[in-house]
Amino acid sequence: MSHADAAAAHGHDGGEDHAVTFERARFGMWLFIASEIMMFGAFIAVYIVLRMSMPQEVVDYSKEVLSHTFHLALINTFILIASSYTVVRGVNAMSKGNKGHCEDMLILTAALGLLFLVLKGVEYAAKFDHGIGPSHNVFFSCYFLMTGFHGLHVLIGVILLPWCAFYVEKFDAHHYAHVENLALYWHFVDVVWIFLFPIVYLL
């Protein structure tokens, strides 16, 4: 290990250990999430402002269209909540040194994420079939932007989770920052949905 990365992580004199790197990585992840919150915050704020000035008939019409696929969104909410539980199980397993179980849980989480994406795809397809896309009206501009960006984050998670599961074998019992950070990210993605679901589908 002779590159700068390794030197920085382990300290030049080997003084800094894994716990320190772990701590740093987790802190960096929180910062990243803070900036993500600001970005979704911008989308949501724009949605609120546009929604407040939207004519009632546009709102009524758009809600009517959305209601046809409401059940999909509802199921998706439960799927994501379940996936938050499985990812926690994964981290717990890792902290107890049970790598096999951790791997299973990460894969299961990814599978739930994938299921979410499939249902989202069905929901989108139902809209597109009626010629309703992002340019349909302002409500659907916001709808596709927010759910689309959230979906993109789910997709990234679905790619990273199996990738991480693949490496779990190599982590040692005290050095599983990747697993924890990924779980943190996954929780964040779930929480975003918990906000989006009511403001897009319910209100």
Binding site: A7, D13, A42, V46, V138
Partner: protein, 619 residues
């Protein structure tokens, strides 16, 4: 450990200069890239200034190549030849007259070839502003100095996440590619101003899209940098180095990183929404029933003002990103130059924090004239004026630092002094504009242009000149030439003021910004001012060659530097120049704050790594 060293020495050219994860190399990469953009953006604005002084005349030397198409260049002599033939063939007087007219027109067209046309003019202002802000000032202050100095100042080997750090530079580099490529697409680069107000930005050509992509990438690069800086400063400080012992440079970088982390994603969000409007036909910022040149546009129903709100919500904090790191560096240069402790160190930190915090609630002072609710204007007027308080605290503390110091008038100090004085002028004009009734009169005039050049060029860029000179030995192990440095400072300072001070006057006189002078009769009385400003600007522009020459020449031929050429206290001066690959062989132990100058004992200054002999002398 020595082993690791060996490994490093052998790192190939690619790992050393291109995909380097060393914070010092990444800092230098940012520095050099930004210099390139400084010259590109400078060239853009000089062409624009040329046009204001010489309406209709081609820009000298490069004008024909850049502002005329190949087709136009080919056609011009042909037209003249045709007209001449026609004249020779003309039989009666009427035909002769008509042919002569044709010839005159052809000659006029040929003579004006290479002048900046209206469309190009607005493109020049837009790209000058965008490049200077996002590709010069921010990357120099944050990318170059943030990267280079933070790990040195906190006493560690490198950034917390070196690979992320390298990625941040290369994402920035990709952004540079898109920014430049924008000039090559059909219709030229973005031309809706650096603020990209809807609806112009919704309707422009593909150059607009390139601009959006490139700025989104810059935003992601900044966020990656901010995550790194914050983690490094908070989690990797050397033993004994409490937050209250950090030099102000690093404090300022810390607060700036918070701004970057929290404000840049909002810009990214806004840019993504605008891109969706352009590419997917969404309706965030397009008004209902929009017509462009009599053609109804398919979008409808969004909110035009919303773009301005979202944009300024980022971009006001961004103007502090443009100046806070400069404030920090100027503070350090002044303390070293005056051989005195910073006056009111904690007040300095608190005021930086206050400026950053207030920066989030003043954005609509850019929108007094936008048609926003007037009542909102009053609220934003008050919050904006509040910002003047922490700014004034900083100014008084700088003056307090200089007071009775034994000031050395070397290049870094001279530049730092210029920073303070120019920042005062820019801050004062800021207060004028913050007052709604006054702003109604001067909004969108050259007064605004004067204001922000006083804070960004007069302020930040002078601080950068000083800082480059100051830290050059730590970067490259050699000193920059002081004679050239002073000459460059002198020319820049004089011609900066000659260029930008008159803009207050013509602005108050009603000269609008971003307009091509040839089109408007009422601008004619300003012509002599414009000529004067342009000539000063040209000298100012060419003076910068001295700086770049000094920079590259000193890299190879400069006087070799000792470890601590400025007798400074901060950690980076306790190690050899240039800073070794891993900075500190052994992580240093810190005993003092960074500004122990003029202390008792045999030493005139007390480095942070040395234990003080006795209690500090009373002043």
């Amino acid at each position: 450990m020595s082993d690791e060293h060996g490994g490093h020495e052998k790192a190939g050219i690619f790992r050393t200069y291109v995909w380097s994860t060393n914070h010092k190399m990444i800092g230098k990469q940012f520095l050099v890239t930004s210099f390139v953009f400084l010259f590109i953006a400078g060239f853009l604005v000089l062409s624009l200034r040329w046009q204001l002084a010489n309406p209709g005349k081609p820009v000298p030397v490069l004008g024909r190549l850049i502002f005329a198409t190949a087709e136009q260049r080919e056609k011009a002599p042909k037209d003249i030849a045709d007209a001449e033939k026609e004249l020779a063939a003309a039989k009666d007087d009427a035909a002769k007259k008509k042919a002569q007219e044709n010839l005159d027109n052809a000659n006029k067209r040929a003579a004006g070839l290479g002048a900046v046309n209206d469309q190009q003019f607005i493109m020049l202002t837009s790209m000058h502003g965008s490049l200077m802000i996002f590709f010069v000032i921010i990357p120099i202050l944050v990318g170059a100095f943030g990267n280079f100095l933070i790990p040195l100042h906190v006493g560690t080997h490198d950034m917390a996440f070196p690979i992320l750090n390298a990625a941040s530079y290369w994402v920035f580099w990709l952004a540079c590619v898109f920014a430049i490529a924008g000039f090559a697409v059909e219709g030229g680069a973005a031309s809706a101003g650096w603020t990209m107000y809807s609806t112009l930005s919704e309707l422009g050509g593909p150059g607009q899209t390139m601009w959006l992509i490139s700025l989104t990438l810059v935003g992601f690069s900044s966020i990656m940098g901010a995550v790194n800086y914050l983690t490094t400063i908070l989690k990797m400080r050397a033993p004994g180095l409490s937050m209250w012992r950090l030099p102000l440079t690093t404090w300022a970088q810390f607060i700036t990183a918070v701004l970057q982390l929290l404000a840049t994603p909002v810009l990214a969000g806004a840019l993504i929404m605008l891109s969706c409007d352009r590419l997917l036909g969404t309706h965030f910022f397009t008004p209902g029933g929009l017509m462009a040149t009599y053609v109804p546009q398919p979008h409808s129903g969004g909110n035009v003002l919303l773009w301005q709100h979202v944009f300024w919500f980022y971009s006001h904090p961004a103007v502090y990103i443009l100046v806070l790191p400069a404030m920090g560096m100027a503070s350090d240069l002044l303390a070293v130059g005056a051989r005195k402790a910073i006056f009111g160190y904690k007040a300095m930190v608190y005021s930086i924090t206050a400026i950053a915090g207030l920066g989030f609630i003043v954005w609509a002072h850019h929108m007094f004239m936008s048609g926003m609710k007037p009542g909102l204007g009053t609220a934003f007027m008050i919050s904006t004026m509040l910002i003047a308080l922490p700014s004034a605290i900083k100014v008084f503390n700088w003056l307090g630092t200089l007071w009775r110091g034994s000031i050395r008038f070397d290049t870094p100090t001279l530049n730092a002094l210029s920073f303070v004085s120019m920042f005062i002028i820019g801050g004062l004009s800021g207060i004028f504009m913050a007052a709604t009734p006054v702003d109604i009169f001067i909004h969108d005039t050259y007064y605004i242009v004067a204001h922000f050049h006083y804070v960004v060029f007069g302020g930040s860029l002078f601080a950068v000149f000083g800082a480059v000179f100051f830290w050059f030995p730590k970067m490259f192990g050699r000193m920059m030439n002081p004679m050239l440095g002073k000459l460059h400072w002198f020319l820049s300072f004089v011609f900066f003021n000659l260029t930008f001070f008159p803009m207050h006057i013509i602005g108050a006189g009603g000269h609008m910004r971003r307009v091509q002078i040839g089109d408007y009769d009422w601008l004619a009385p300003f012509h002599s001012w414009n000529v004067f400003i342009t000539h000063s600007a040209i000298v100012l522009g060419f003076s910068q060659i001295l700086f770049v020459f000094n920079f590259f020449w000193s890299m190879y031929k400069g006087k070799p530097a000792e470890a601590n050429p400025w007798q400074s206290n901060t950690l980076e001066w306790s190690i050899p120049s240039p800073a070794p690959e891993h900075n500190y062989h052994v992580i240093p132990e810190v005993y003092n704050g960074p500004y122990e100058y003029g202390v008792a004992g045999d030493k005139e200054y007390l480095p942070q790594t040395e234990k003080s002999a006795g209690p500090p002398a009373a002043h």
